[in-house]
Symmetry: C2
């Protein structure tokens, strides 16, 4: 029996502001904007077959068994990535499954960051799955191909527009043009920071993105122009606060926290799209909150290790 | 007196194969090809004024004082980057220099890797200088702008064509199209490896690049086509060995080492352009050499820290 497994890490990503750019082709769809990638992120381990006793877990539509922090779960974009890479078929058959036994592909997702709160967990899981599955099953795709596959999966599922390409770059990415490699274009703010964050609950990306995004996108374009004229971190934070107000996305707890940080002469903004506030340095601590603490992440998503015994 | 300093790290880069693409515009000039970025690299500390007693060091043409591993030295591309960023003027005046005192901008370059041996030290120094000087002197350039400035400096000085963009990306970069951001395009091999290397001496990049590169570039294009069809690390190594032979660049000590590693069932190739052999895993150790050991570097060049007291 072959043993195939690999692990990848993708940083979290808080979007500071964005404009939505739908397109019939998922690779060309995306968002423009900017954000911070975080050292808190998502680790994805892909293994199959025979690596896991999966009998007590439920296989998803793709035939893969996914766990999220040890519990059975489903991430649509992850299933999509596995299907595109031919690692799990749409009919539920894992690849190379013998007639007698049908062992299951397992995807174990571990997150340092809250789900549904604006940290790009689904994008990170999709990108980490693409990198790990490519390695474990020796699919021979290039980095850009894997980024495109994860981006298309996110866009198709309506769970994100710009996290994947940002998480693939790392640092403090500026999404200059929307879309996957070959379509989009990225730049970055050449800086680094300690980042604090507090989450007050979930906010549905799908609900916002499926509504009218005209006013939101106009505000996002203004914020991007401002940052590109002055690609510094304080400018990113100012532009983010203006965007949240102009796009009418601020929720009360987040607005209150941003004000409290400002009163303590710090810099904070809302993570798009989540009931989450993030601050530079010790902004939230200084304002009396008890935040999670991390750093901007110096690199994009990467394979951590891999093993194949064909 | 203001205190301004910042430190940046840029990974080393061994080019496996390349084709040369000169252009009148340095930003559009470059090379196509592939290589490995290394965790051994170059750390650049930019500081001025008043941070260093520079009286016993000699200022270069740009007015900057450069040290290389603690010794006075000059790197043309570094002087060029400082001049473009307005940090040191071509007439030798540092910025904001008072009439009475003319304190000097200091650039301290520390390398883990040999100079002139195919590790892209000049490119790494130029890129590290761009990142650190931008931070120390609050120049407000974006990452892409800083990469372009460092790339243009390398190309103008004739010391490299593709190292800077590779070192800005990290990992195992594929230079799909030549040139700086906005002109070139990159992809990557989604892998990682332990890397061993041995250097037998210097080889002049300028001498090779200023000669007839027609046959070399044809061999480089073939190697790139091969890798893009199969973006895996073993294929990169095979393509690199074929390129070195076809382009007639192999030097005897390197050829001997590559053969010895192959006899020990390892993978080795020549670093372009240097009298250097690099191998995956324990290839050179297994063949009886006493190599330096590092890893592919997961990220591109980054600011390490910065401090400004305006």
């Amino acid at each position: 029996m072959s043993r195939q497994r690999a692990t990848a890490f993708a940083p979290g990503h808080v979007t500071a502001f964005f404009s939505a750019h739908p397109n019939e082709r998922p690779a060309a769809a995306g968002s423009r904007g900017a954000g911070l990638t975080l050292s808190d992120g998502v680790t994805v381990r892909v293994s199959a077959p025979g690596e896991r006793a999966a009998s007590d877990l439920t296989a998803g539509l793709s035939g893969a068994v996914t766990t999220i922090d040890g519990e059975p779960g489903t991430i649509g974009a992850v299933d999509e990535v596995l299907a595109v890479l031919g690692v799990a078929a749409a009919d539920g058959s894992p690849p190379n499954a013998g007639a007698a036994s049908r062992p299951t592909v397992t995807v174990d997702v571990e997150t340092d960051i809250p789900i549904g709160a604006g940290f790009g967990v689904s994008g990170a899981a999709a990108l980490g799955t693409a990198l790990a599955a490519n390695e474990a099953f020796d699919r021979g795709r290039s980095e850009n191909e894997l980024i495109r596959i994860a981006h298309e999966a996110e866009v198709s599922r309506g769970t994100g527009l710009g996290d994947v390409v940002a998480q693939a770059r790392g640092g403090i990415p500026i999404r200059v043009e929307p879309g996957a490699p070959g379509f989009g274009a990225l730049d970055g703010v050449p800086s680094q920071a300690r980042v604090e964050y507090v989450t007050f609950g979930e906010l549905s990306t799908e609900a916002v993105l499926s509504g009218d995004t005209t006013a939101l996108s106009a505000a996002g374009e203004r914020a991007l122009d401002r940052l590109r004229e002055d690609p510094r971190l304080p400018t990113l934070m100012t532009a983010a606060r203006e965007f949240a107000a102009d796009a009418d996305l601020l929720v009360p707890e987040v607005a209150e926290a941003i004000d409290a940080v400002a009163d303590a002469t710090g810099e904070a903004a809302m993570a798009m799209l989540g009931r989450t506030v993030f601050a530079l340095g010790t902004g939230l601590s200084d304002a009396g909150y008890d935040p999670a603490v991390c750093q901007t992440h110096p690199s994009g998503a990467r394979l951590v290790d891999g093993e194949r015994e064909p």
